[in-house]
């Protein structure tokens, strides 16, 4: 982009009025530094003064090391020297990210492109510098936004499942209540219940525990948190996510689970991976429900050295026109859909070094989504046990 190595303009620079040249350079938004073969600064424009907190008059004549972190500064002389003696380019003509040092000691990221010019006064190097900090900040903002989005979609899934959760909690609460009331009644009638009361109380406690588990699972799923990777077996994780999605589903769905059982573990954030499975299974159910006899198949297997989780349904498949935008956010065909499920799922998959793929089906075949995850690297000895 900013390859000045063959710039025809520069040799003439020496003949242009220096004042005029400087005034042009000073209007540049990028920092511009020109150095000679001995790395002495010849030109230091206004943007550089700001960037490094050094006045041009102070900078000119000094070694360019003054704007570099100590560790670079040491190598820099060698680079210039080695290039001049060998002609091997380490940076010339290539933009790259380096670090600069402000007069106050702050070290910050810079994009640096270096061009070279032969002038009557000898070889000169011109460096164009762009402070990367604003960009880094916006990247951070983007990452924040993305995690917010992931959270949002999770919450909306929960919202929809809210009624289902209430239903699921109703079961243990019903059992708990009836067990306790049975004891109460027997007790108030003076019946001899000693023989069975221990057994009933155990059952009641188990039901309370079951209610607690349901809440725990939901909490794990809803709460926003940093991704935490751990090495896990995929099958139980997928099984649990399928269960979670089916909680009190109003549609009657046949669910076929075909787990490999012997897959190598994956290094993943279990909650995020389960979120993908929940999204895919919800979509599958929503697609298949109108068929009258909805059926989905969830399968895990090893393919080309990756762990693959497939979610297949017997719905209508995905029409060709919808395919290109399928994984884009806010692409939804549903009245109440946000169109976030697949977008977020693919982002998570790719953040895990994997991917989310689709076989659109159609012509009587339902869609089949494949979540591909790389196998975890073998554990290093210190992590064993």
């Amino acid at each position: 982009m900013r390859d000045f190595s063959s710039s025809p303009g520069l040799p003439e620079c020496a003949t242009v009025s220096e004042a005029r040249l400087l005034s042009v350079l000073d209007t540049a938004a990028d920092g511009i530094i020109v150095i000679d073969e001995r790395a002495r600064i010849l030109i230091f424009n206004k943007a550089c003064e700001q960037m490094f907190g050094i006045a041009s008059v102070e900078a000119v004549g000094q070694n360019v090391k003054i704007v570099m972190p100590i560790e670079y500064a040491y190598d820099h002389d060698k680079y210039v020297g080695s290039y001049i003696s060998t002609g091997v380019k380490k940076i010339i003509g290539i933009g790259r990210e380096v670090r600069g040092r402000h007069a106050d000691g702050t070290v910050f990221p810079l994009e640096l492109s270096v061009g070279e010019a032969a002038t009557p006064d000898g070889r000169q190097f011109i460096g164009i510098l762009r402070d990367l900090r604003p960009r880094k900040e916006s990247e951070q903002r983007l990452a924040d936004l993305q995690s917010e989005l992931v959270h949002l979609a999770r919450v909306s899934a929960i919202d929809e499942m809210g009624a289902a959760i209430a239903h699921e909690l109703n079961q243990p609460l019903t059992a708990l209540m009836l067990y306790l009331q049975a004891i109460r009644r027997a007790h108030s009638r003076g019946m001899d219940i000693n023989a069975m009361v221990g057994d009933i109380l155990d059952k009641a406690a188990a039901e309370a525990e079951r209610a607690g588990h349901i809440i725990q699972r939901m909490r794990q799923f809803v709460e926003k948190r940093e991704p935490v990777r751990s090495v896990r077996d995929i099958d139980p994780m997928v099984d649990e996510a399928v269960e979670l999605t089916l909680l009190g589903q109003r549609h009657r769905i046949r669910v076929e689970r075909e787990f490999a059982g012997d897959l190598p573990p994956v290094a993943v954030d279990p909650v995020q991976i389960q979120q993908i499975v929940v999204n895919l299974v919800r979509n599958a159910i929503e697609a298949a429900a109108p068929t009258g006899d909805p059926a989905i198949r969830v399968r895990t297997r090893l393919r080309d050295g990756n762990v693959v989780i497939e979610v297949h349904d017997n719905g209508p498949g995905i029409a060709a026109p919808a395919l290109p935008k399928l994984f884009e956010a806010f692409a939804s065909s549903k009245r109440r859909g946000m169109g976030l499920g697949l977008a977020i799922s693919r982002t998570i998959a790719q953040n895990h070094g994997g991917d989310l793929l689709v076989d659109p089906g159609g012509n009587g075949k339902g869609a089949c989504f494949s979540l591909v995850l790389p196998v975890a690297p073998p554990p290093v000895p210190s992590e064993v046990g």
């Binding site: 209540m177 009836l178 188990a206």
Partner: protein, 115 residues
């Protein structure tokens, strides 16, 4: 009185049997509609408690079948679903009682005939 309980949740089914026995009833439990249909049918003096969410044949289907019998037993629906979901599934059906979960012995006793 004989009470048939069609409920797939083991905990709910077990505690229901216990409390119904406690109330003085003979209880027969079924984990799904299919096993109810395979057994000798309830008669007109029996009560059948049916959970709406069953695996396989849905609870509403069981209710419809029971209400069409020559000697209609007393049918009591139990469910944890939302009112709109209940209304939707029970369209055109009039069971003797609908009791929403979580169940209490008082609510159950109200839905059962006095014995």
């Amino acid at each position: 009185m004989r009470v048939h309980v069609v409920e797939d949740d083991a905990g709910v089914s077990d505690s229901l049997s216990l409390i119904l026995a406690n109330l003085g009833h003979d209880v027969i439990s079924y984990p799904d509609a299919e096993s109810l249909f395979r057994s000798p049918p309830p008669d007109g003096s029996d009560t059948v408690i049916v959970d709406l969410t069953l695996p396989g044949i849905p609870g509403a289907q069981v209710v419809r079948w029971l209400l069409k019998m020559a000697a209609v037993p007393r049918v009591v629906v139990i469910t944890g679903q939302s009112q709109s979901a209940i209304d939707h599934q029970l369209r055109g059906l009039a069971p003797a009682g609908v009791v929403r979960k979580p169940l209490t012995v008082e609510a159950l006793a109200r839905a059962l005939p006095a014995s």
